[in-house]
């Protein structure tokens, strides 16, 4: 019995290493995808002014890229993006005074070991933000989209 406990404990320890590594990897992936997505959306806003493209991009590119990642909890069909305006004065970016759009992604990471003993899966979330141009003369572009979440 002691051996079994020791074995389980060792396996959990190793599994924790694995799960932590997996979570860390996927968290960095989420950050990278979110940054890429926010930049792509910013470029799209700047050049095409087609606001629906942002949602399309998130749905067609960013989300699948994360879901296809090893360890993604595909069973949990929740993949949330949030686009919100940040007031220039309250934004967290180091940019001086720009109005910003912050894109936040929430991503469920499956686990192989720890979740066997924990009640639920691990949910990772990461936020990335970038500066999106503000059309000073004609109002904020894609405001309707940006206000949606």
């Amino acid at each position: 019995m002691e051996f079994a406990l020791v074995l389980s404990l060792l396996i959990l320890i190793l599994g924790a290493f694995f799960d932590i590594g997996l979570a860390l990897h996927n968290w960095m992936l989420l950050r990278t995808v979110t940054l890429d997505a926010s930049r792509a959306i910013a470029v799209n806003f700047a050049t095409e002014q087609e606001c629906d493209r942002a949602e399309e991009y998130l749905a067609d590119y960013a989300t699948p890229r994360l879901r296809n990642a090893f360890g993604a909890d595909v069973a949990r069909d929740e993949m949330n993006w949030r686009v919100e305006w940040l007031n220039p004065s309250t934004g967290v970016s180091h940019a001086p005074t720009f109005p910003k759009v912050r894109l936040s992604g929430h991503f469920h990471v499956g686990c192989l070991f720890i979740c066997r003993v924990l009640p639920g899966g691990l949910t990772l979330s990461a936020a990335s933000e970038t500066v999106i141009e503000l059309e000073m003369e004609n109002g904020v572009p894609c405001q309707g989209f940006a206000m949606r979440s």
Binding site: I13, H25, T32, V43, T47, A95, E135
Partner: protein
Amino acid sequence: MGKPKVVFMKKKQFVPRLTQGESGIVLPLFAMLAFVFVAMLAFVIDHSKETLAVETLQRAADVAALSAVRQLDSTVEGWRRAKDAAVIAVKRNGIHGTSAAELSALALNDSETRGSWNASGTQHPSASGHAGGLSAKVERGTVWFDRTLSNGRGGYAFKSLEGDLPEHAADGFWRGSVPTYLVANAVRVTLKLDKLPTTFGQVLGVLGFENLTQSALAVTGSEREVDVAPLAVPYCQLILDTNVNMPRPRPGSLAAAQEDHLSANYEPAVQQQRELVFTEANPKFDLQSWSFSDGSGNAPVLTDAEKDELRRRRNGLTRFESFIREPYVAYNYSIDGGVCSDSALSGPAPSCKHFPIYGTLGRPSDRPGDKTRAGEVAGLFAAARDGRLRARLGDYFAPLENLQDQTGDVANATLDAAQYINSGDKTYQDIFTIEPPLHVGNNFPLMRTLRPESAGGDPEGRPRYDPPDPFYDLRLSRPTKLELGDAEGPLGIPSLNLMLDYQRNPRNGAWPEVQNTRQPMAWSNPLCHAEEVGLANDLNQRVRTAKVMVIAPHKENPANAKYCDFRNVFRGQPQNAIPPVADSWPVVVGMIEVNLFDLNFRDLDNHPVFKAELDHYRPLTWVERLFGDDRMISTVTPHYPSAGVFDFGEIVDRHPSELLALPESVLSSIEQARNQIGNFQPVPSCTDCSSESNGNGNSGNSGNSQSCEQCQANAASTQSSNNNLLTSLAEQGFPVSFFWCFDLDDILDVLRQTPGLAECANEMEATEVNQCLNDKKVDFNSLIASMEEWFGSDGEPGTLAQMTAANMVSGGLSIRTRPHSHCLPQPKLGAYDLNDPNSFEPLSPLYAGRGCGGMRARVVHDTQSKKVWSTGGSHVDASPALVQDNAG
């Protein structure tokens, strides 16, 4: 035998096997898995470290590029600020894998030579810097929409602008000689981390990651389409800074590289002072046989065919008068010697800042070599008015070359152009004046009078216009008496006439020669109308603020053209340049924001659309026009700015019952005004004092014991009080032009009926009438009586008459009349009944006289925030954005 040893043995064997098996399998398994998992974790951690570094590099580059591009304002200083902003942004943002000391030590190697600009092209390079393992590079460049990319679908291209001249740097786009700081609309920031050491990988011999590089490209917002007017200006017209402070050798000795806009003294802000004149490109109208070089100053001798051509043009959108606005004629006296800083002039040296900027009509296009058809002009202005005309950097421009075959579209084109401007939400007063009420700012429009000369004539035999008197001074409401050497020109600038039009050389009396006959010569102004400039000095005329395109010849244009050749101009040589014709493949390289104004359009009430509107309103009473369900003010005013000016005072007097139906707010304001109007007091005449002053020997006032001094003091006080009331009324919302809206003929008719004032009616000018009234010390009451009789008072002194009389005798606010006033419906003689539509002559909207003002503009005067050349917008309002970095 059969002893339980077996069991023992089994037990004995079992336990050691079990224990031996676990110690032999699990520990190695654990060790192996632990090694693998820990290695994986180590790898993930190291990889995450790299990812984090790349991410922070990218973020820092993004913010740096955006911060930098925000600083671009088409000046050298803007580029310097951009570099500083980029470095600050990187430092604030932080980069994983770099120490605070490294970040704080980051600085760009600034190799530029401040305070100068060198055409050799190396003094304002991109900047780079290095601190520890981090290096940064900041580049300026141009982003434009390149239709050749993506199999013709187009895409955004970036070109780094190294050096000072874009002749090589901007060759992916257009050709021309212009400082790159002026045209740069993008900043690219590249950050590189030479080495990022691993944390765990070193155990396996992986020491670190090398050369992590991320870049970001930000643009000033100029990649987007913006609303534009169907107008464009060659870039080189804009950059001509002819500031007199610029050292300029005598003609012929100027070094090739020392064009003014490439010199250290170049002042882009000076361009704000220059007036724009828009014409058609018109390359087919060859003036080579029109010699101005006979030295006699006589009119050019034309063939019959040329006369026919002129006649057609006069009947069309183009006008003969404007052909003398010839930007491609070489001066036979140089700018230095004759126009801008003639040393023979007394007083401060004049500036060339009023050298006009010549623009052309046209529209954006998606293909090179495209032309705007004359029939499109009306539609273009309508599209611009509705926000349907949009352009972006890199679009081709389709110029309007010639309108001569499209005279049938004159009415529509003129109408739409007029509507485009007159639907602007600003007025002359808003834009061009300073310090209220009516002080003229230095960017006030100039009008050109074409006062007939006593001798000579144009090709059709009409009187030729007198060059020394070319301007109508809106400030003084009279033609200027400008001659070379005058201390007071329209703007206090001597020799201004030489700058706006081609005039005879003051030194030898000769006309400028048309030397470069190989090239098309003439531009004419399609929005230029008739023979004389009217007196439409209504400061409530509308002004339209709009962006116009800045164009340059495409690099690969088949004509191998360039639009300006100031190098030769400064040398006194013929220019080797052509107008922005379609063959030059004009492309949009920037935008400028201008205030468009309409000096005069022809009487548009002949147009079917206007006529229909007028016919609709003519049967209505004034009150109905003002406040009815389809009130005229809201529907017609955009077309006829001055149609919104009505006589509220008269309405109050004559239509009290109708006014009761008006909203409370309207009634309140009218009542307030009415109360003040009632405060006007008659000005004592002091007639005997006048006699006394004339030396007739009588003393005092014959009617009472009041002394002349007291009477005059009373008169002055009352008059001052009246003036204050008028001013107060004007300030409270009554349009100033309310007091100007009486036709001079009406006033003169009143005077003819007024005892003792009939001879004032013989004066022809309003100011002279006013002087006459002052001289005669007008009897206020008799004047009112005459006006009541004329205007048909219904018993008590009409407010209209009272105000008019007060205005007439007022020295401060003299009678402001306009020969073709459309402020008020003109009453028919002897049939002045407000309720009888047949009592009025038809309204004559926008009949602002005739002349050759056409469509002109001033660059928006903006001292607070500089303009971004590539967007036409304010530096402050520039909307920076990240764009795809193709090179990256």
